[in-house]
Symmetry: C2
Subunit: 364 residues, 2 copies
């Protein structure tokens, strides 16, 4: 089957580009002695997680327990759940996973630690725990080395838990290089204080897990980091290009769409909107646009309805016609893939494979 | 089972409120002699489409062919596909649906009309066609009465097609009453010109299908309109409340979430983000916030990551604790429901039913 025979909208992944992306990241990690633990939230496809392992990853990262369950059922058995597991129901599911796999969880509260400990003890199993640090993204994570050490000591004292180290997410690094250098200095000062504090307490962290998409080929510059968790690198998207973390030629994923209306002057409408792409905004430049049209980069996708993409064609000289097909690079691939039950792997114009997005909708 | 026993995040619908919403709309339509053809993109659940029919709807509306197929398989057999069907593959699927149901399609181009005609003729079946008018939302639709009539005459001349009337979507009516009155005057002048032009050509439209969520209890004020297609009214959301098209007590749908982190000062994190709610923005007021926290309306959900909701708690005096549960009214219910494989119907605190979102992910 050819791409031109797929009904639209259809999500296609250029396998040559994807394979290059996988190799480049694996090479980078080998060169810098970093363990690679890709975040599979980007694709949610066990077959691709296996490809990541084959390319050199030592395990995978997931956000939700239900994603972990999907990956484990597909034979992936070294899992980091980079998400606080809260409440007895989830702690029990975690303990069930821990019986079948090597499981590590990040957390930032004693409540989460105690809940997990109870469930682990009941089942007689164990989970590795990373203490999450807030290095400036202001989402999860403890604020300083004193709190980090106190939480680590609590963890070390609880049955069924094994203090394994520290984790952080520098999600705010999608900025210009000079600004990134300033942020990195702050993060490294925090990391230095933590490493020193933990060394003094005789609890050196075995793992320091860091990195993010915007910081990814610079993750070796974080002090003490020995593991990274990139996600988007497998496909890349308009945002990663926008923050100079990838080039356009490294974007493996596009959505094939059809022009369904040109009747409003200066506009064209495609058969995909927020229910095909997500309504995630552009995180770089002027923040405008909901994707990049490969055939007409000058045109702006100015708005999404649920099933319509509104293209403003006035900036470009291109003439759009009802029935023609276009390829669009989405703003944010992780959210786009999550809209679909299946996506296609293509080589050149040939559709080589169909993957089921087995982890899609796994929110719990 | 009780709501408190559902693992989070979980989408729950208050059945009492939903039933009131259904009755109110059906009463309004009866009182104004409007045919009610609810847009089922909001819920994508055949059981709820049947409830809408039972409450007085004469048929349903869908956006995509694959949604029509799901609804038809569940016994709903009067379908308006309010979306241009373009390309031979889709036209053939439409013809297959037309063999089993009463099907109407809206369009705004000769290309779409000819494609559908070919497929209908090949199967010896028929579809009703509505010519879509652009009344100011600038998405799909022809711009004036001359183009509308020319397209209607082409449709009338093509085999397998039956010109049935006009359709429009006043999606830009989410504004203040005075501004709405100005917009309505413009729309009505356009409708008057169309009705006059079509009458002169001896092609009076049997159907004039109009209305939208923001205009919905004023849809009778559009000239000539005899059918409406409200969608969101079944659940309502923060946006419909924001544009004064519903009150908070008419919001039937909430997402139950758990607080998973409070370690960043002034913030709390819940276990749902853009993959639970969608990242659809607030379309009213200052545009800020990604949902309304029922327990703390003063707090702002200031940002979504994929699986984290970032609550800024500094505006409210409330103290958040890890493990507590909250109920959130999303900005845009249609996009939220579309993220989930199933949602729950509740009465009081009791979970009465689980619905599968059978039309979710049906983008083609």
């Amino acid at each position: 089957m050819l791409i031109s025979e797929l009904d639209t909208p259809a999500v296609v992944v250029d396998l040559d580009v994807m394979e290059q992306n996988l190799s480049r990241m694996a090479d980078y990690c080998r060169a810098h002695n970093l363990r690679l633990r890709p975040h599979t939230k980007t694709h949610k496809i066990p077959e691709l997680a296996h490809k990541q392992i084959e390319s050199g990853a030592s395990g995978i990262t997931v956000a939700k327990l239900s994603e972990a369950e999907v990956m484990l059922d597909a034979g992936l058995n070294d899992l980091l759940i980079a998400y606080p597991i809260v409440g007895p129901a989830k702690a029990q599911r975690l303990a069930a996973i821990a019986e079948r796999a090597t499981v590590t969880v990040s957390l930032d509260s004693e409540e989460a630690a105690r809940g997990i400990s109870t469930a682990m003890s009941e089942r007689g199993t164990r989970a590795g725990i990373l203490v999450e640090l807030d290095v400036g993204f202001s989402r999860c994570g403890v604020a300083n080395e004193t709190e980090a050490l106190a939480l680590a000591q609590t963890i070390a004292s609880l049955p069924g838990l094994e203090f394994q180290g520290l984790m952080f997410f520098p999600g705010h690094f999608g900025v210009a290089p000079a600004e990134r250098a300033v942020l990195r200095k702050q993060v490294n000062e925090f990391l230095d204080r933590c490493l020193e504090t933990f060394a003094r307490a005789d609890m050196p962290p075995a793992t320091v897990s860091g990195g993010s998409t915007p910081s990814r080929y610079e993750s070796d510059l974080f002090h003490g980091v020995n593991e990274v968790r990139p996600g988007t690198y497998i496909f890349n998207d308009r945002n990663t290009v926008g923050v100079s973390a990838a080039s356009l030629s490294e974007c493996a994923l596009s959505v094939v769409v059809t022009v369904v209306s040109t009747s409003v002057s200066g506009h064209a409408v495609i058969d995909g909107g927020s229910k095909t792409f997500s309504s995630d905004r552009y995180q770089a430049g002027d923040g405008r646009g909901f994707g990049l049209i490969k055939e007409d980069p000058a045109a702006e996708i100015e708005r999404f309805s649920e099933e319509h993409g509104h293209i403003k064609v006035s900036q470009s000289g291109r003439r759009y016609t009802v029935g023609e097909r276009l390829m669009i690079i989405p703003n944010h691939v992780c959210s786009t893939v999550n809209m679909h039950d299946e996506i296609y792997g293509v080589r050149g114009q040939v559709v080589e494979t169909v993957w089921r997005v087995a982890g899609r909708g796994k929110v719990r």
